[in-house]
Protein backbone atom coordinates (compact mmCIF):
# COMPACT_ATOMS: atom_id res chain seq x y z
CA UNK A 1 0.00 0.00 0.00
CA UNK A 2 1.03 3.60 -0.41
CA UNK A 3 2.88 5.02 2.56
CA UNK A 4 1.67 7.89 4.73
CA UNK A 5 2.95 10.55 2.35
CA UNK A 6 1.30 8.93 -0.67
CA UNK A 7 4.32 7.24 -2.23
CA UNK A 8 3.42 3.88 -3.81
CA UNK A 9 5.51 1.02 -2.37
CA UNK A 10 5.37 -1.42 -5.28
CA UNK A 11 5.02 -0.38 -8.93
CA UNK A 12 4.73 -2.96 -11.71
CA UNK A 13 5.15 -2.35 -15.43
CA UNK A 14 3.65 -4.92 -17.79
CA UNK A 15 5.42 -4.55 -21.10
CA UNK A 16 8.57 -3.80 -19.17
CA UNK A 17 10.56 -2.54 -22.12
CA UNK A 18 7.90 -0.20 -23.52
CA UNK A 19 9.34 3.26 -24.03
CA UNK A 20 6.15 4.98 -22.88
CA UNK A 21 5.86 2.60 -19.94
CA UNK A 22 9.44 3.26 -18.86
CA UNK A 23 8.99 7.01 -19.26
CA UNK A 24 5.98 6.79 -16.92
CA UNK A 25 7.99 4.76 -14.40
CA UNK A 26 10.78 7.29 -14.63
CA UNK A 27 8.30 9.85 -13.31
CA UNK A 28 6.71 7.57 -10.69
CA UNK A 29 9.84 6.09 -9.13
CA UNK A 30 11.13 8.35 -6.37
CA UNK A 31 12.77 7.91 -2.97
CA UNK A 32 10.39 5.93 -0.80
CA UNK A 33 9.29 3.47 -3.50
CA UNK A 34 10.34 0.10 -2.09
CA UNK A 35 10.04 -2.11 -5.14
CA UNK A 36 9.62 -2.00 -8.92
CA UNK A 37 8.93 -5.02 -11.12
CA UNK A 38 9.36 -4.96 -14.90
CA UNK A 39 7.38 -7.76 -16.52
CA UNK A 40 8.45 -8.37 -20.12
CA UNK A 41 9.10 -10.93 -22.83
CA UNK A 42 12.78 -10.19 -23.22
CA UNK A 43 14.66 -10.56 -19.91
CA UNK A 44 17.88 -9.07 -21.28
CA UNK A 45 16.18 -5.90 -22.52
CA UNK A 46 14.30 -5.79 -19.21
CA UNK A 47 17.54 -5.95 -17.23
CA UNK A 48 18.94 -3.04 -19.25
CA UNK A 49 15.85 -0.98 -18.45
CA UNK A 50 16.04 -2.01 -14.79
CA UNK A 51 19.60 -0.69 -14.65
CA UNK A 52 18.41 2.79 -15.60
CA UNK A 53 15.64 2.75 -12.97
CA UNK A 54 18.02 1.59 -10.24
CA UNK A 55 19.90 4.84 -10.73
CA UNK A 56 16.91 6.94 -9.62
CA UNK A 57 16.69 5.83 -6.01
CA UNK A 58 19.08 3.79 -3.90
CA UNK A 59 16.51 2.19 -1.67
CA UNK A 60 14.33 0.94 -4.50
CA UNK A 61 14.63 -2.74 -5.38
CA UNK A 62 14.12 -3.30 -9.14
CA UNK A 63 13.31 -6.77 -10.43
CA UNK A 64 12.59 -8.26 -13.86
CA UNK A 65 10.09 -11.04 -14.52
CA UNK A 66 9.21 -12.83 -17.74
CA UNK A 67 5.77 -13.25 -19.27
CA UNK A 68 4.17 -13.97 -22.61
CA UNK A 69 2.12 -10.88 -23.42
CA UNK A 70 -0.06 -12.80 -25.86
CA UNK A 71 -1.06 -15.61 -23.50
CA UNK A 72 -4.35 -14.64 -21.85
CA UNK A 73 -4.54 -17.92 -19.93
CA UNK A 74 -1.29 -17.21 -18.08
CA UNK A 75 -2.17 -13.73 -16.79
CA UNK A 76 -3.69 -14.86 -13.54
CA UNK A 77 -0.52 -16.82 -12.69
CA UNK A 78 1.67 -13.85 -13.73
CA UNK A 79 -0.23 -11.54 -11.38
CA UNK A 80 0.00 -14.04 -8.51
CA UNK A 81 3.73 -14.34 -9.01
CA UNK A 82 4.29 -10.59 -9.15
CA UNK A 83 2.13 -10.06 -6.06
CA UNK A 84 3.76 -12.83 -4.05
CA UNK A 85 6.26 -10.33 -2.70
CA UNK A 86 3.51 -8.01 -1.46
CA UNK A 87 0.78 -5.65 -2.54
CA UNK A 88 0.94 -3.84 -5.86
CA UNK A 89 0.01 -0.17 -5.57
CA UNK A 90 0.37 0.94 -9.17
CA UNK A 91 0.30 -1.34 -12.22
CA UNK A 92 1.14 0.19 -15.60
CA UNK A 93 0.01 -1.88 -18.57
CA UNK A 94 2.03 -0.89 -21.61
CA UNK A 95 2.20 -4.13 -23.54
CA UNK A 96 1.14 -3.76 -27.13
CA UNK A 97 2.01 -4.34 -30.77
CA UNK A 98 1.45 -2.13 -33.77
CA UNK A 99 1.52 -3.33 -37.37
CA UNK A 100 3.42 -1.72 -40.19
CA UNK A 101 0.99 -0.07 -42.53
CA UNK A 102 -1.87 -2.42 -43.40
CA UNK A 103 -2.01 -4.60 -40.35
CA UNK A 104 -4.93 -6.69 -41.56
CA UNK A 105 -2.79 -9.02 -43.61
CA UNK A 106 -3.96 -12.56 -43.01
CA UNK A 107 -1.79 -15.61 -42.97
CA UNK A 108 1.11 -14.05 -41.10
CA UNK A 109 -0.60 -14.54 -37.73
CA UNK A 110 -0.61 -10.80 -37.22
CA UNK A 111 -4.35 -10.58 -36.75
CA UNK A 112 -4.39 -13.21 -34.02
CA UNK A 113 -1.26 -11.92 -32.33
CA UNK A 114 -2.36 -8.30 -32.29
CA UNK A 115 -5.80 -9.11 -30.95
CA UNK A 116 -4.23 -11.41 -28.34
CA UNK A 117 -1.59 -8.96 -27.06
CA UNK A 118 -3.54 -5.72 -27.34
CA UNK A 119 -7.00 -6.98 -26.44
CA UNK A 120 -7.58 -10.50 -25.09
CA UNK A 121 -4.48 -10.95 -22.96
CA UNK A 122 -4.64 -7.34 -21.74
CA UNK A 123 -8.27 -7.86 -20.73
CA UNK A 124 -7.29 -11.03 -18.88
CA UNK A 125 -4.51 -9.10 -17.16
CA UNK A 126 -6.94 -6.32 -16.19
CA UNK A 127 -9.30 -8.87 -14.65
CA UNK A 128 -6.52 -10.58 -12.70
CA UNK A 129 -5.12 -7.29 -11.43
CA UNK A 130 -8.54 -5.94 -10.50
CA UNK A 131 -9.30 -9.09 -8.50
CA UNK A 132 -6.01 -8.93 -6.68
CA UNK A 133 -6.27 -5.22 -5.93
CA UNK A 134 -9.87 -5.55 -4.78
CA UNK A 135 -8.61 -8.04 -2.20
CA UNK A 136 -5.92 -5.54 -1.17
CA UNK A 137 -8.55 -2.83 -0.87
CA UNK A 138 -6.62 -0.35 -2.98
CA UNK A 139 -4.67 0.04 -6.18
CA UNK A 140 -4.36 2.04 -9.37
CA UNK A 141 -4.11 0.52 -12.84
CA UNK A 142 -2.74 2.62 -15.70
CA UNK A 143 -3.73 1.27 -19.09
CA UNK A 144 -2.16 2.57 -22.29
CA UNK A 145 -4.91 2.68 -24.85
CA UNK A 146 -4.81 4.91 -27.93
CA UNK A 147 -6.85 7.53 -29.71
CA UNK A 148 -7.08 4.83 -32.38
CA UNK A 149 -9.74 3.33 -30.11
CA UNK A 150 -11.93 6.35 -30.79
CA UNK A 151 -12.03 6.50 -34.57
CA UNK A 152 -10.87 3.73 -36.89
CA UNK A 153 -8.42 4.53 -39.67
CA UNK A 154 -8.11 2.45 -42.81
CA UNK A 155 -4.34 2.23 -42.43
CA UNK A 156 -4.44 0.12 -39.25
CA UNK A 157 -7.81 -1.54 -38.86
CA UNK A 158 -6.78 -4.40 -36.58
CA UNK A 159 -4.79 -2.15 -34.25
CA UNK A 160 -7.77 0.22 -34.02
CA UNK A 161 -10.15 -2.65 -33.37
CA UNK A 162 -7.90 -4.16 -30.68
CA UNK A 163 -7.55 -0.81 -28.89
CA UNK A 164 -11.29 -0.12 -29.19
CA UNK A 165 -11.95 -3.46 -27.52
CA UNK A 166 -9.60 -2.98 -24.58
CA UNK A 167 -10.55 0.70 -24.16
CA UNK A 168 -14.22 -0.15 -23.96
CA UNK A 169 -13.56 -3.05 -21.60
CA UNK A 170 -11.41 -0.95 -19.25
CA UNK A 171 -14.03 1.81 -18.99
CA UNK A 172 -16.67 -0.73 -18.03
CA UNK A 173 -14.34 -2.43 -15.53
CA UNK A 174 -13.40 0.91 -13.96
CA UNK A 175 -17.10 1.65 -13.53
CA UNK A 176 -17.58 -1.72 -11.87
CA UNK A 177 -14.65 -1.04 -9.54
CA UNK A 178 -16.15 2.20 -8.20
CA UNK A 179 -16.08 2.23 -4.42
CA UNK A 180 -13.65 -0.70 -4.16
CA UNK A 181 -10.55 1.45 -3.68
CA UNK A 182 -9.27 0.27 -7.05
CA UNK A 183 -9.43 2.41 -10.16
CA UNK A 184 -8.20 2.48 -13.73
CA UNK A 185 -6.56 5.38 -15.52
CA UNK A 186 -7.11 5.02 -19.24
CA UNK A 187 -4.42 6.78 -21.24
CA UNK A 188 -5.10 7.63 -24.88
CA UNK A 189 -1.99 8.93 -26.57
CA UNK A 190 -1.94 10.12 -30.17
CA UNK A 191 0.94 9.29 -32.47
CA UNK A 192 3.99 8.67 -30.25
CA UNK A 193 7.47 8.79 -31.78
CA UNK A 194 9.09 5.62 -30.48
CA UNK A 195 10.62 2.39 -31.66
CA UNK A 196 7.08 1.11 -32.21
CA UNK A 197 6.41 3.77 -34.83
CA UNK A 198 9.85 4.03 -36.41
CA UNK A 199 9.50 4.47 -40.16
CA UNK A 200 5.83 5.34 -39.96
CA UNK A 201 4.40 8.58 -41.27
CA UNK A 202 3.90 11.01 -38.40
CA UNK A 203 0.34 12.05 -37.65
CA UNK A 204 -0.63 15.57 -36.55
CA UNK A 205 -0.23 16.25 -32.79
CA UNK A 206 2.50 13.63 -32.62
CA UNK A 207 4.15 13.38 -29.23
CA UNK A 208 7.00 11.65 -27.36
CA UNK A 209 7.14 9.08 -24.54
CA UNK A 210 8.38 11.76 -22.13
CA UNK A 211 5.51 14.08 -23.03
CA UNK A 212 3.00 11.25 -22.50
CA UNK A 213 4.58 10.53 -19.11
CA UNK A 214 4.30 14.20 -18.16
CA UNK A 215 0.53 13.92 -18.63
CA UNK A 216 0.19 10.48 -17.02
CA UNK A 217 2.28 10.86 -13.84
CA UNK A 218 0.18 13.60 -12.18
CA UNK A 219 -2.99 11.80 -13.29
CA UNK A 220 -1.90 8.60 -11.50
CA UNK A 221 -2.15 10.45 -8.20
CA UNK A 222 -5.51 12.00 -9.08
CA UNK A 223 -8.94 10.44 -9.37
CA UNK A 224 -9.17 10.88 -13.15
CA UNK A 225 -10.26 7.93 -15.24
CA UNK A 226 -9.27 9.11 -18.73
CA UNK A 227 -6.44 11.28 -20.03
CA UNK A 228 -5.30 12.10 -23.55
CA UNK A 229 -1.73 12.90 -24.54
CA UNK A 230 -1.20 15.56 -25.65
CA UNK A 231 -4.18 16.88 -23.70
CA UNK A 232 -5.56 18.78 -26.70
CA UNK A 233 -6.48 15.43 -28.29
CA UNK A 234 -9.42 15.13 -25.94
CA UNK A 235 -10.98 18.09 -27.74
CA UNK A 236 -9.77 17.07 -31.18
CA UNK A 237 -11.21 13.59 -30.83
CA UNK A 238 -14.44 14.85 -29.30
CA UNK A 239 -14.87 16.43 -32.73
CA UNK A 240 -13.40 13.57 -34.77
CA UNK A 241 -15.53 10.84 -33.25
CA UNK A 242 -18.67 12.81 -34.06
CA UNK A 243 -17.77 13.63 -37.67
CA UNK A 244 -20.01 11.96 -40.24
CA UNK A 245 -18.21 9.07 -41.89
CA UNK A 246 -18.27 10.87 -45.26
CA UNK A 247 -16.41 13.87 -43.84
CA UNK A 248 -13.92 11.77 -41.80
CA UNK A 249 -12.94 9.73 -44.88
CA UNK A 250 -12.04 12.86 -46.80
CA UNK A 251 -9.62 14.07 -44.13
CA UNK A 252 -5.97 13.42 -44.98
CA UNK A 253 -5.53 11.45 -41.74
CA UNK A 254 -6.23 7.99 -42.94
Amino acid sequence: MRNGVGVPQHIVLFGGTSEIGLAVLDGLVRPGVARVTLVCRDIEAGEAAAGCLRGISDDTQVEVARFDASDASSMSAVVSEVCSAGDVDVAVIAQGVLGQGHDHALGSGMLENMMAVNATATMALLIALADRMRAQGDGRIVLLSSVAALRPRKSNPVYGASKAAVDSFALALDHELEGSGVSILLVRPGFVESKMTTGMRKAPFSTTPAAVAAVVVPAVNSSRSVVHAPKVLSLVFAVFRNLPERVWRRLPLN
Binding site: M1, N3, G4, V5, P31, S57
Partner: protein, 395 residues
Protein backbone atom coordinates in the same frame (compact mmCIF):
# COMPACT_ATOMS: atom_id res chain seq x y z
CA UNK B 1 -10.55 -15.10 8.82
CA UNK B 2 -10.64 -15.19 12.59
CA UNK B 3 -13.72 -14.48 14.64
CA UNK B 4 -13.28 -12.99 18.10
CA UNK B 5 -16.08 -12.60 20.64
CA UNK B 6 -16.71 -8.93 21.36
CA UNK B 7 -17.08 -9.46 25.11
CA UNK B 8 -13.89 -8.72 27.05
CA UNK B 9 -11.84 -11.89 27.39
CA UNK B 10 -9.46 -10.55 30.01
CA UNK B 11 -9.62 -10.49 33.77
CA UNK B 12 -11.52 -7.59 35.32
CA UNK B 13 -9.78 -4.50 36.67
CA UNK B 14 -8.29 -4.75 40.12
CA UNK B 15 -5.75 -2.73 42.07
CA UNK B 16 -3.78 -4.12 44.97
CA UNK B 17 -3.70 -1.03 47.17
CA UNK B 18 -0.71 -2.14 49.18
CA UNK B 19 1.64 -3.21 46.37
CA UNK B 20 0.24 -0.99 43.61
CA UNK B 21 -0.21 -3.86 41.19
CA UNK B 22 -2.94 -3.52 38.59
CA UNK B 23 -4.61 -6.33 36.71
CA UNK B 24 -6.81 -5.16 33.87
CA UNK B 25 -8.30 -6.19 30.55
CA UNK B 26 -6.02 -5.24 27.68
CA UNK B 27 -8.74 -3.15 26.06
CA UNK B 28 -8.87 -0.73 28.98
CA UNK B 29 -7.41 2.71 28.22
CA UNK B 30 -4.82 4.42 30.39
CA UNK B 31 -7.49 7.11 30.84
CA UNK B 32 -9.75 4.55 32.52
CA UNK B 33 -6.87 3.20 34.59
CA UNK B 34 -5.84 6.68 35.79
CA UNK B 35 -9.41 7.62 36.76
CA UNK B 36 -9.51 4.55 38.99
CA UNK B 37 -6.01 4.74 40.48
CA UNK B 38 -4.93 8.38 40.87
CA UNK B 39 -7.49 9.14 43.63
CA UNK B 40 -6.05 6.13 45.48
CA UNK B 41 -2.47 7.38 45.11
CA UNK B 42 -1.17 5.29 42.21
CA UNK B 43 0.02 6.47 38.80
CA UNK B 44 0.76 4.45 35.63
CA UNK B 45 4.46 3.59 35.34
CA UNK B 46 4.68 5.04 31.82
CA UNK B 47 2.33 7.24 29.84
CA UNK B 48 2.75 8.39 26.26
CA UNK B 49 1.57 11.83 25.10
CA UNK B 50 -2.03 10.67 25.05
CA UNK B 51 -3.92 8.74 27.71
CA UNK B 52 -6.33 7.39 25.09
CA UNK B 53 -4.27 4.29 24.40
CA UNK B 54 -5.19 0.84 25.66
CA UNK B 55 -3.01 -1.23 27.94
CA UNK B 56 -2.72 -3.87 25.21
CA UNK B 57 -1.62 -1.24 22.72
CA UNK B 58 0.86 0.20 25.21
CA UNK B 59 2.47 -3.25 25.50
CA UNK B 60 2.34 -4.09 21.78
CA UNK B 61 4.02 -0.76 20.93
CA UNK B 62 6.15 -0.79 24.10
CA UNK B 63 5.28 2.86 24.58
CA UNK B 64 7.58 5.29 26.35
CA UNK B 65 7.07 8.59 28.10
CA UNK B 66 8.97 11.53 29.50
CA UNK B 67 10.47 9.24 32.15
CA UNK B 68 12.18 6.76 29.85
CA UNK B 69 15.68 7.80 30.93
CA UNK B 70 14.76 6.83 34.51
CA UNK B 71 11.96 4.24 34.33
CA UNK B 72 12.24 2.61 30.89
CA UNK B 73 9.24 1.78 28.73
CA UNK B 74 5.84 0.25 29.46
CA UNK B 75 6.99 -3.33 28.88
CA UNK B 76 9.53 -2.98 31.70
CA UNK B 77 6.69 -2.75 34.21
CA UNK B 78 4.57 -5.65 32.99
CA UNK B 79 4.67 -8.57 35.43
CA UNK B 80 2.63 -10.93 33.27
CA UNK B 81 0.06 -11.01 30.51
CA UNK B 82 -2.29 -13.53 28.99
CA UNK B 83 -2.09 -13.81 25.23
CA UNK B 84 -4.42 -15.68 22.88
CA UNK B 85 -2.46 -17.28 20.06
CA UNK B 86 -3.87 -17.77 16.57
CA UNK B 87 -4.72 -21.36 17.45
CA UNK B 88 -7.06 -20.09 20.15
CA UNK B 89 -4.76 -21.32 22.90
CA UNK B 90 -4.30 -18.85 25.77
CA UNK B 91 -0.79 -18.61 27.22
CA UNK B 92 0.49 -16.72 30.24
CA UNK B 93 3.70 -14.86 29.50
CA UNK B 94 6.04 -13.16 31.93
CA UNK B 95 9.67 -12.10 32.06
CA UNK B 96 10.36 -15.42 33.81
CA UNK B 97 7.75 -17.57 32.01
CA UNK B 98 8.46 -18.01 28.29
CA UNK B 99 10.58 -14.84 28.30
CA UNK B 100 11.25 -15.08 24.54
CA UNK B 101 7.53 -15.01 23.78
CA UNK B 102 6.95 -12.31 26.39
CA UNK B 103 9.55 -9.96 24.91
CA UNK B 104 8.49 -10.73 21.31
CA UNK B 105 5.01 -9.55 22.30
CA UNK B 106 6.35 -6.40 23.98
CA UNK B 107 6.85 -4.09 20.99
CA UNK B 108 5.57 -6.88 18.73
CA UNK B 109 2.97 -4.61 17.10
CA UNK B 110 0.18 -7.09 17.84
CA UNK B 111 1.59 -9.69 15.49
CA UNK B 112 2.24 -12.42 18.08
CA UNK B 113 -1.30 -12.80 19.41
CA UNK B 114 -4.17 -11.00 21.09
CA UNK B 115 -3.19 -9.63 24.49
CA UNK B 116 -6.17 -10.39 26.74
CA UNK B 117 -5.08 -8.83 30.00
CA UNK B 118 -1.99 -7.73 31.85
CA UNK B 119 -0.63 -7.31 35.32
CA UNK B 120 1.69 -4.35 35.83
CA UNK B 121 3.12 -2.31 38.66
CA UNK B 122 2.14 1.29 39.31
CA UNK B 123 4.11 4.06 40.98
CA UNK B 124 2.93 5.67 44.23
CA UNK B 125 1.99 9.37 44.21
CA UNK B 126 0.74 11.58 47.02
CA UNK B 127 -0.88 14.20 44.79
CA UNK B 128 -2.41 14.57 41.34
CA UNK B 129 -0.16 17.55 40.60
CA UNK B 130 3.18 17.81 38.88
CA UNK B 131 6.02 20.04 40.03
CA UNK B 132 7.39 21.38 36.75
CA UNK B 133 10.49 23.38 35.94
CA UNK B 134 10.33 25.26 32.68
CA UNK B 135 13.17 27.08 30.96
CA UNK B 136 13.85 28.17 27.45
CA UNK B 137 17.11 27.35 25.76
CA UNK B 138 18.48 29.49 22.92
CA UNK B 139 19.84 26.79 20.58
CA UNK B 140 20.66 23.16 19.86
CA UNK B 141 23.79 22.99 22.03
CA UNK B 142 22.03 24.41 25.06
CA UNK B 143 19.17 21.93 24.69
CA UNK B 144 21.45 18.92 24.30
CA UNK B 145 23.71 19.89 27.16
CA UNK B 146 20.76 20.47 29.52
CA UNK B 147 19.38 17.02 28.69
CA UNK B 148 22.64 15.07 28.71
CA UNK B 149 23.38 12.32 31.24
CA UNK B 150 24.42 13.95 34.48
CA UNK B 151 22.38 17.12 34.11
CA UNK B 152 19.04 15.41 33.54
CA UNK B 153 19.17 12.39 35.83
CA UNK B 154 17.73 14.18 38.84
CA UNK B 155 14.41 14.63 37.11
CA UNK B 156 11.97 11.76 36.67
CA UNK B 157 10.30 13.45 33.69
CA UNK B 158 12.12 15.48 31.09
CA UNK B 159 11.32 16.58 27.54
CA UNK B 160 12.08 19.53 25.28
CA UNK B 161 9.85 21.17 22.74
CA UNK B 162 11.97 22.22 19.77
CA UNK B 163 11.25 25.09 17.37
CA UNK B 164 11.91 23.40 14.04
CA UNK B 165 11.43 26.61 12.06
CA UNK B 166 14.21 28.50 13.83
CA UNK B 167 17.32 28.81 11.71
CA UNK B 168 20.83 30.25 12.02
CA UNK B 169 22.16 30.53 15.54
CA UNK B 170 18.69 29.77 16.93
CA UNK B 171 18.49 26.40 15.16
CA UNK B 172 17.20 23.80 17.57
CA UNK B 173 16.15 26.30 20.23
CA UNK B 174 13.53 24.97 22.59
CA UNK B 175 11.64 24.94 25.82
CA UNK B 176 12.73 22.33 28.35
CA UNK B 177 10.23 21.04 30.88
CA UNK B 178 11.29 18.75 33.68
CA UNK B 179 9.48 17.60 36.74
CA UNK B 180 8.19 15.02 39.11
CA UNK B 181 5.01 14.25 40.99
CA UNK B 182 4.43 16.92 43.61
CA UNK B 183 4.14 15.79 47.23
CA UNK B 184 0.72 16.09 48.82
CA UNK B 185 2.10 18.75 51.13
CA UNK B 186 2.97 21.00 48.18
CA UNK B 187 -0.64 21.10 47.00
CA UNK B 188 -3.11 23.46 48.63
CA UNK B 189 -6.26 21.63 47.45
CA UNK B 190 -8.46 19.95 50.06
CA UNK B 191 -7.87 16.55 48.44
CA UNK B 192 -4.43 16.57 46.84
CA UNK B 193 -5.29 13.37 44.93
CA UNK B 194 -8.49 14.63 43.28
CA UNK B 195 -8.23 13.93 39.57
CA UNK B 196 -10.66 15.24 36.99
CA UNK B 197 -9.35 15.21 33.42
CA UNK B 198 -11.61 17.20 31.14
CA UNK B 199 -11.63 17.71 27.44
CA UNK B 200 -11.52 21.46 27.25
CA UNK B 201 -11.69 22.67 23.68
CA UNK B 202 -12.69 21.27 20.35
CA UNK B 203 -11.13 22.21 17.05
CA UNK B 204 -14.09 23.05 14.86
CA UNK B 205 -14.70 20.71 11.96
CA UNK B 206 -14.85 23.58 9.46
CA UNK B 207 -11.25 24.60 10.03
CA UNK B 208 -9.85 25.44 6.61
CA UNK B 209 -7.23 23.11 5.25
CA UNK B 210 -3.78 24.51 5.82
CA UNK B 211 -4.57 26.58 8.91
CA UNK B 212 -1.45 24.99 10.29
CA UNK B 213 0.92 26.20 7.63
CA UNK B 214 4.46 27.49 7.72
CA UNK B 215 3.43 31.08 8.46
CA UNK B 216 0.98 30.30 11.24
CA UNK B 217 3.31 27.77 12.85
CA UNK B 218 6.17 30.26 12.71
CA UNK B 219 4.02 32.72 14.62
CA UNK B 220 2.92 30.05 17.07
CA UNK B 221 6.48 28.81 17.63
CA UNK B 222 7.77 32.33 18.25
CA UNK B 223 4.98 33.00 20.74
CA UNK B 224 5.46 29.63 22.45
CA UNK B 225 9.17 30.22 22.80
CA UNK B 226 8.73 33.78 24.09
CA UNK B 227 6.01 32.69 26.49
CA UNK B 228 8.42 30.33 28.26
CA UNK B 229 10.38 31.98 31.04
CA UNK B 230 13.93 32.90 30.10
CA UNK B 231 15.05 31.86 33.58
CA UNK B 232 14.15 28.60 35.20
CA UNK B 233 10.64 28.73 36.59
CA UNK B 234 8.98 26.22 38.89
CA UNK B 235 5.23 25.70 39.07
CA UNK B 236 2.51 23.16 39.63
CA UNK B 237 0.62 21.62 36.72
CA UNK B 238 -2.16 19.07 36.47
CA UNK B 239 -1.48 15.56 35.13
CA UNK B 240 -3.34 16.20 31.84
CA UNK B 241 -1.60 19.56 31.29
CA UNK B 242 1.83 18.02 31.81
CA UNK B 243 1.44 14.63 30.16
CA UNK B 244 -1.47 14.87 27.76
CA UNK B 245 -1.80 18.46 26.50
CA UNK B 246 -3.34 17.50 23.15
CA UNK B 247 -5.97 15.30 24.82
CA UNK B 248 -7.39 18.62 26.02
CA UNK B 249 -8.24 19.64 22.47
CA UNK B 250 -10.80 17.37 20.90
CA UNK B 251 -10.25 16.67 17.18
CA UNK B 252 -6.96 18.60 17.27
CA UNK B 253 -5.93 16.66 14.16
CA UNK B 254 -8.54 18.66 12.20
CA UNK B 255 -6.17 21.61 12.39
CA UNK B 256 -4.09 19.91 9.72
CA UNK B 257 -7.00 20.10 7.31
CA UNK B 258 -8.19 17.50 4.85
CA UNK B 259 -4.70 16.43 3.85
CA UNK B 260 -4.14 15.08 7.35
CA UNK B 261 -0.83 14.80 9.11
CA UNK B 262 1.85 12.26 9.65
CA UNK B 263 3.94 11.48 12.67
CA UNK B 264 7.60 10.67 12.42
CA UNK B 265 9.80 9.56 15.28
CA UNK B 266 13.45 8.68 15.05
CA UNK B 267 16.22 7.83 17.49
CA UNK B 268 20.00 8.10 17.13
CA UNK B 269 22.63 6.78 19.55
CA UNK B 270 23.69 9.05 22.41
CA UNK B 271 27.06 9.92 20.86
CA UNK B 272 25.52 10.98 17.55
CA UNK B 273 24.58 14.51 18.55
CA UNK B 274 26.11 15.77 15.31
CA UNK B 275 23.69 13.67 13.29
CA UNK B 276 20.86 14.95 15.47
CA UNK B 277 22.03 18.50 14.79
CA UNK B 278 22.09 17.78 11.03
CA UNK B 279 18.61 16.22 11.15
CA UNK B 280 17.17 19.25 12.95
CA UNK B 281 19.07 21.54 10.59
CA UNK B 282 17.66 19.66 7.59
CA UNK B 283 14.07 20.10 8.76
CA UNK B 284 14.73 23.74 9.67
CA UNK B 285 16.49 24.44 6.38
CA UNK B 286 13.61 23.04 4.36
CA UNK B 287 11.08 25.00 6.38
CA UNK B 288 8.95 21.98 7.22
CA UNK B 289 6.12 23.22 9.36
CA UNK B 290 6.04 21.02 12.42
CA UNK B 291 3.63 22.12 15.07
CA UNK B 292 4.85 19.54 17.50
CA UNK B 293 8.53 18.68 17.60
CA UNK B 294 9.78 17.04 20.74
CA UNK B 295 13.26 15.95 21.79
CA UNK B 296 14.01 13.50 24.55
CA UNK B 297 16.96 11.51 25.79
CA UNK B 298 16.16 7.83 26.20
CA UNK B 299 17.66 5.37 28.68
CA UNK B 300 18.95 1.87 27.93
CA UNK B 301 17.01 -0.61 25.82
CA UNK B 302 15.00 -3.45 27.38
CA UNK B 303 15.23 -7.11 26.19
CA UNK B 304 12.43 -6.77 23.59
CA UNK B 305 13.93 -7.16 20.08
CA UNK B 306 11.42 -4.80 18.45
CA UNK B 307 11.21 -2.23 21.25
CA UNK B 308 11.97 1.21 19.87
CA UNK B 309 13.71 3.00 22.74
CA UNK B 310 17.43 2.56 23.07
CA UNK B 311 20.05 4.75 24.69
CA UNK B 312 20.04 7.90 22.59
CA UNK B 313 18.17 10.96 21.37
CA UNK B 314 14.67 10.68 20.03
CA UNK B 315 13.00 13.37 17.95
CA UNK B 316 9.25 13.31 17.31
CA UNK B 317 7.51 15.38 14.67
CA UNK B 318 3.96 15.94 13.51
CA UNK B 319 3.76 17.36 10.01
CA UNK B 320 1.04 18.12 7.49
CA UNK B 321 1.08 15.14 5.11
CA UNK B 322 0.58 17.37 2.09
CA UNK B 323 3.85 19.26 2.72
CA UNK B 324 5.59 19.69 -0.63
CA UNK B 325 8.67 17.55 -1.10
CA UNK B 326 8.02 15.60 2.11
CA UNK B 327 8.72 12.11 0.67
CA UNK B 328 12.17 13.16 -0.54
CA UNK B 329 12.97 15.01 2.68
CA UNK B 330 11.97 12.08 4.88
CA UNK B 331 13.98 9.67 2.72
CA UNK B 332 17.03 11.88 3.19
CA UNK B 333 16.54 11.95 6.95
CA UNK B 334 15.87 8.17 7.02
CA UNK B 335 19.29 7.59 5.48
CA UNK B 336 21.00 9.92 7.99
CA UNK B 337 19.33 8.13 10.90
CA UNK B 338 20.08 4.60 9.65
CA UNK B 339 23.69 5.44 8.76
CA UNK B 340 24.16 6.65 12.35
CA UNK B 341 22.84 3.35 13.72
CA UNK B 342 19.45 4.79 14.61
CA UNK B 343 15.91 3.70 13.78
CA UNK B 344 12.24 4.65 13.56
CA UNK B 345 9.27 4.09 15.87
CA UNK B 346 6.90 1.62 14.23
CA UNK B 347 3.94 2.70 16.37
CA UNK B 348 3.97 6.03 14.54
CA UNK B 349 5.43 4.97 11.25
CA UNK B 350 3.64 5.39 7.96
CA UNK B 351 6.66 6.12 5.84
CA UNK B 352 9.83 4.05 6.21
CA UNK B 353 10.82 1.29 3.78
CA UNK B 354 11.06 -2.47 4.47
CA UNK B 355 14.85 -2.11 4.33
CA UNK B 356 14.82 0.60 7.03
CA UNK B 357 13.22 -1.76 9.55
CA UNK B 358 15.83 -4.44 8.89
CA UNK B 359 18.70 -1.98 9.22
CA UNK B 360 17.28 -0.17 12.23
CA UNK B 361 16.32 -3.24 14.25
CA UNK B 362 19.32 -5.61 14.23
CA UNK B 363 17.34 -8.30 16.10
CA UNK B 364 14.50 -8.25 13.57
CA UNK B 365 15.31 -11.78 12.31
CA UNK B 366 15.26 -13.16 15.84
CA UNK B 367 11.87 -11.56 16.45
CA UNK B 368 10.54 -13.00 13.17
CA UNK B 369 11.58 -16.50 14.22
CA UNK B 370 9.94 -16.20 17.65
CA UNK B 371 6.84 -14.72 16.06
CA UNK B 372 6.63 -17.63 13.63
CA UNK B 373 6.82 -20.05 16.60
CA UNK B 374 3.85 -18.31 18.21
CA UNK B 375 1.85 -18.14 14.97
CA UNK B 376 3.02 -21.11 12.89
CA UNK B 377 0.04 -20.93 10.54
CA UNK B 378 0.84 -17.26 9.84
CA UNK B 379 -2.69 -16.04 10.62
CA UNK B 380 -1.93 -12.61 12.05
CA UNK B 381 -1.38 -9.71 9.69
CA UNK B 382 -1.74 -5.94 9.61
CA UNK B 383 -1.42 -3.06 7.18
CA UNK B 384 1.92 -2.16 8.79
CA UNK B 385 3.14 -5.75 8.40
CA UNK B 386 2.07 -5.82 4.75
CA UNK B 387 3.71 -2.50 3.94
CA UNK B 388 6.98 -3.32 5.68
CA UNK B 389 7.00 -7.04 4.89
CA UNK B 390 7.28 -7.84 8.63
CA UNK B 391 6.08 -11.40 8.07
CA UNK B 392 8.19 -12.13 4.99
CA UNK B 393 10.75 -14.87 5.32
CA UNK B 394 13.55 -13.90 2.99
CA UNK B 395 14.10 -10.27 2.31
Amino acid sequence: MLLMPDAPLGREFSLDRTTGTVVCPAGMSLDEVLKRTVPLGWFVPVTPGTRFVTVGGAIASDVHGKNHHVDGSFGDHVRSMRVMLSTGEVVTLAPNARPDWFWATVGGMGLTGVILDAEFSMIPVSSSRMRVETERLPGFDAVVSAMSPGSDDGYRYSVAWVDLLATGRSTGRGVLTRGDHAAGSEVSAKDPLSYDPKVMLAAPSWVPSGLLNKASIRVFNEAWYRKAPARRHVGLESIPAFFHPLDGVRRWNHLYGRGGFIQYQLIVPLAETDVLRRVIGTFAGRGVASFLAVLKRMGPQNPAPMSFPTEGWTLTLDMAAATRGLPELLSTVDAMVLDAGGRHYLAKDSHVSPVAVRRGYPRFGEWQRTRAEMDPAGRWNSDLARRLGLLDRAR
